[in-house]
Symmetry: none
Subunit: 358 residues, 2 copies
Amino acid sequence: MTAVRELPLDQLLLGDAVEMMRMLPDASIDCVFADPPYNLQLRGELRRPDDSVVDGVDDDWDKFTDFAAYDEFSRAWLSEARRLMHKDATIWVIGSYHNIFRLGAIMQDLGFWILNDVIWRKTNPMPNFRGRRFTNAHETLIWAAREPKSRYRFNYQAMKSLNDDTQMRSDWTIPLCTGGERLRNQHGLKLHPTQKPEALLHRVILAATNPDDVVLDPFSGTATTATVAKRLNRHFIGIERHPAYVEAGWARLREMRAAPAHLTRPMPSRREAPRIAFGVLVERGLVPPGTLLHDRLRRVSATVAADASIIAGAHRGSIHQVGAAVQNAASCNGWTFWHIEREGRLVALDHVRETLRP
Amino acid sequence: MTAVRELPLDQLLLGDAVEMMRMLPDASIDCVFADPPYNLQLRGELRRPDDSVVDGVDDDWDKFTDFAAYDEFSRAWLSEARRLMHKDATIWVIGSYHNIFRLGAIMQDLGFWILNDVIWRKTNPMPNFRGRRFTNAHETLIWAAREPKSRYRFNYQAMKSLNDDTQMRSDWTIPLCTGGERLRNQHGLKLHPTQKPEALLHRVILAATNPDDVVLDPFSGTATTATVAKRLNRHFIGIERHPAYVEAGWARLREMRAAPAHLTRPMPSRREAPRIAFGVLVERGLVPPGTLLHDRLRRVSATVAADASIIAGAHRGSIHQVGAAVQNAASCNGWTFWHIEREGRLVALDHVRETLRP
DNA sequence: AGAACATCTGAATCTGGCA
DNA sequence: TTGCCAGATTCAGATGTTC
């Protein structure tokens, strides 16, 4: 494969993460999700965190050789990922205490701007059999923008909606991937040691992308990221070096149907809603010239002029400017500060404005 | 001050962390708890939606020019701490995404052996006022042994007892330090910007030390670590460079009474652990160690231990077991059997527990 | 006295579009 | 790039005030 101009959209690419990423063009990716292997073994084999817990090999880590090799490997793929990300793109990286501190520090050194660390709290973690430590009941995700000035996407209202209408917190309680979702071979053994739950990717993708965005997973495994991306009408590119995983991933993708497009758009946020100027309310007679505006407790009032400026004593200007002036404040949201009287009760301008929205 | 041979036990030392640690002898400390500056990089004033100003951390001690400066500072104090720790000692370090990845990587580089990363889940975090990120609802603790071969202390049964008789997980749900526990100045403002809850230190110290062990806190602040260590009959050494904090710490220590020694020993590990959900009340100070419990008619009484077991005569165990034993009954609901005295009246534990529910 | 309501606050890397 | 300014944005819990 040689470098391509056009992105290979909705593909699982068989090959090494860094080598394959080198083929892709700069600034072409909207979001990266990466579940990197955590250790480099002597034969170049890559192991993942859960593997080490089961096998008990975590105690055998040779820190001097392996930390350096792991850091070099991490810098290589993170640098390539950063090149592929456009200015406002974000990246998610998941790991455990074995590797996440190194990954986080390297990301900061490369110029990524951490937005949150997010905890995946497992409802059903593997117990600690030897009773010598706390049950390892979580993994850590780092969510970062390409750079401090990125104007990154965050679907705040969608996350709030997903969480009973309160802000989504940095700790997510989600079960392990088990049961029918867990891919198995002919012998009923799990196909991949660390298959992530689709619920986790659902939240990641819904939080940080829009429909038709391109999500890259450089350690695709059995294509959980790609599968959820397809369901949510996002484009995906997966890279995986084990042919068996790629094959299983394609089979999984064939089974997945995308949800109807209108259901996968994030909950519209007020920030992104079309702006409605106060003048429109005046023009259309909802707040005719001469109307009296009051603050919530009727301590101050103002009069609406025909040009949608308002007048309070010596102050004249926008609803925001005059609201700030009468409070002696630096700034003010006039939409929520000012009210009009309707049937004897005060109603915020913000509420009046709602009647103009679809 | 010059180097000492004997440890200055149960003292708050006024001075710089690294300089003061240099005075102390090698391999003399059993456990370190460190809450270093987080290197927050706050760019401007932040206001709540109601336009009030958030009182952020703007202290000089949290100002570093860049990551390199922060790393150098971190390597210096972590190296000294490691020299002071004996072979089997452990260290706890708390931080947020701003600094914890750098700290974790440096700890690994210095030869510490990470045992767990532990998440402090805050029940009542400050929201994200701008709706641009996930609510920052947790902080991360790293628990590490001095070296891979350390035979470190972990009071497994005490942790299990504190957690409803199931293994203590790596995520701990504990509220912020507020209310009466929060130290304030004459004007009612918080004395220290980042005072940690005693419940957090209770769990840390109970998990990883024995009575009479020496706990070092190189960034002692208002002496939360020292205060909880005293309550649990551990020795402490606190280092703090701000005289006002040291003074407040001494005042706080004078108020604290150590619990009776036999109540602060961890639950014997061979013993069948009781089925309780009582530990949270002990940890949060609602039923502090040493509290006397009575039955409704004050015919029998028992004493609360730090690990939430209770003692009545020769009986020691859960509130349920001891309740059954003193009645010569097959079983007993300790929540309704045992009462504490409040303003001269007996209140059932079940009622005390209600205050922790929403 | 107690319920109902109002106010305050906590380790925070906290906006975006247009001229 | 910088400056201006419209306007979007909060949860749990403790404490204080009013009815």
